[in-house]
Symmetry: C2
Subunit: 265 residues, 2 copies
């Protein structure tokens, strides 16, 4: 089934099982690609998006290279309803995200007075102030994203949210995005049941259940523990009733093999 962008002007085919408001995350940072830093922002963001009814359908990790950032932002903002970037909005030479977003939208960079005011609250040497003031630059017309940690704000241009990479700051920014601003659909719910059963044993029956409920994603994730192996069966969708029906079928399937359904695994 093909769905189309709900919010944008363009109609772009995105293949999904169902019609959802879609999100894409762009993680900007050499430190993730080099292995120095383990990203945790994707996991935090997507949990908030589930609540907001925005389905994260792709994420990309890209380096601090202007052409790559500009091209990726332009591709993704056309393909998905909402785009979220993290990283590259600090005061050093490798912080080029604001410049790249301005280029992607073909807008000039301007000093935003509200960010400049926040920056001036903390005293520093003239040289350091000059560097910090780079963080006040946003593409013309950008709306701010509050930063409850007290540092410079993030910003939004059209359907692109630009946030910090430091998890503490990124999380604070994400938490300020309310439903008025980040329009989504129904919240995306998930249910999970585990069982000490091999995936292969359940595979055929799981496929039957999935086919009966194409609007709910049914995933099977194996685990290996000291007391044995098994799998967690995860259902994900927006319709609570359908989720319950599917959950009941999964439970019955597990019992049919003589195993115990492990709830909320």
């Amino acid at each position: 089934m093909i769905i189309y962008k709900l919010l944008g002007a363009k109609r772009v085919g995105v293949s999904m099982k169902s019609r959802h408001v879609t999100g894409c995350m762009i993680i900007i940072g050499n430190e993730i690609l080099s292995g120095r830093t383990q990203d945790t922002n994707l996991n935090y963001l997507t949990k908030s998006l589930n609540e907001a009814g925005v389905k994260l359908v792709e994420a990309r990790v890209i380096p601090d290279i202007e052409e790559v950032i500009v091209a990726t932002v332009n591709e993704c903002r056309g393909k998905f309803d909402w785009v979220f970037t993290t990283g590259g909005i600090g005061p050093t030479h490798d912080d080029i995200t604001a410049t790249c977003i301005a280029k992607a939208f073909d807008k000039p960079l301007v000093i935003h007075p509200e960010i400049a005011a926040v920056i001036r609250q903390r005293e520093s040497t003239e040289e350091a102030m000059q560097a910090r003031m780079l963080m006040a630059r946003v593409p013309e017309g950008a709306q701010l994203i509050d930063n409850p940690t007290g540092g410079p704000q993030g910003f939004q241009v059209d359907n692109v949210f630009v946030m910090a990479g430091v998890p503490m700051v990124m999380q604070a920014m994400v938490d300020t995005l309310d439903k008025q601003r980040l329009q989504g659909g129904e919240p995306i719910r998930s249910r999970s049941i585990g069982a000490y059963l091999g995936e292969s044993q359940m595979a055929k029956k799981l496929a039957v259940i999935q086919n009966q409920h194409p609007e709910v994603d049914l995933g099977s994730y194996p685990f290996y523990r000291q007391d044995g192996y098994g799998a967690n069966l995860v259902m994900r969708g927006v319709d609570e009733k359908e989720l319950e029906v599917m959950q009941e079928k999964v439970r019955a399937m597990i019992l049919s093999f003589g195993a115990e359904p492990l709830e909320s695994e």
Copy 2:
């Protein structure tokens, strides 16, 4: 500067500071995008790639949707020297990676006798065996990737390595890729020095040092601790001598501000 694929027949421009053998990781799995699972495979893979002299320059997280997987694999295998996929090679309905790789390369899926032999070593019911035998399917002509954990192998088609998503299995597979198979350049080395100095204080001098050594990436990563804030300065490149020279300049810069260089942060 534009670099070209070193290993492939096609010449594809990839914008990088320097000429490197490039890698791209494709993480296939709804469970990462939904927030259920925190990916750790990227971090593991890229550390191995550093040693092999392959620079991970992009990663994508995509859902278990055939058209998306096929399109992403085809885009990335043309753009980068090496592509590494994780996830979707189990025995259940949501494990569609082998099928998608075969479609991407327009090759038939065949049962690989060596994988089938591994699968038959473990007894199971006929129904479970049928499901497990799905894991023996590879695109025609694929080479195997050993799986030291004893389960079914991964496989390689042209410049694409297809590996498991379960970290224990994925890591075991990555560890089997030797330099003969995964041709890279010089190992990518990194040096790091921390300091309790604000990024903005150092920004101007860091930019000067970066400009003097365009072949080495110099990144600045802020930290916030109970005893104060500061930044780690990370240098990354292949030339040990140049790394040492840059490291000495960074050390001197930190001392010039009256702070202590924190080695190996």
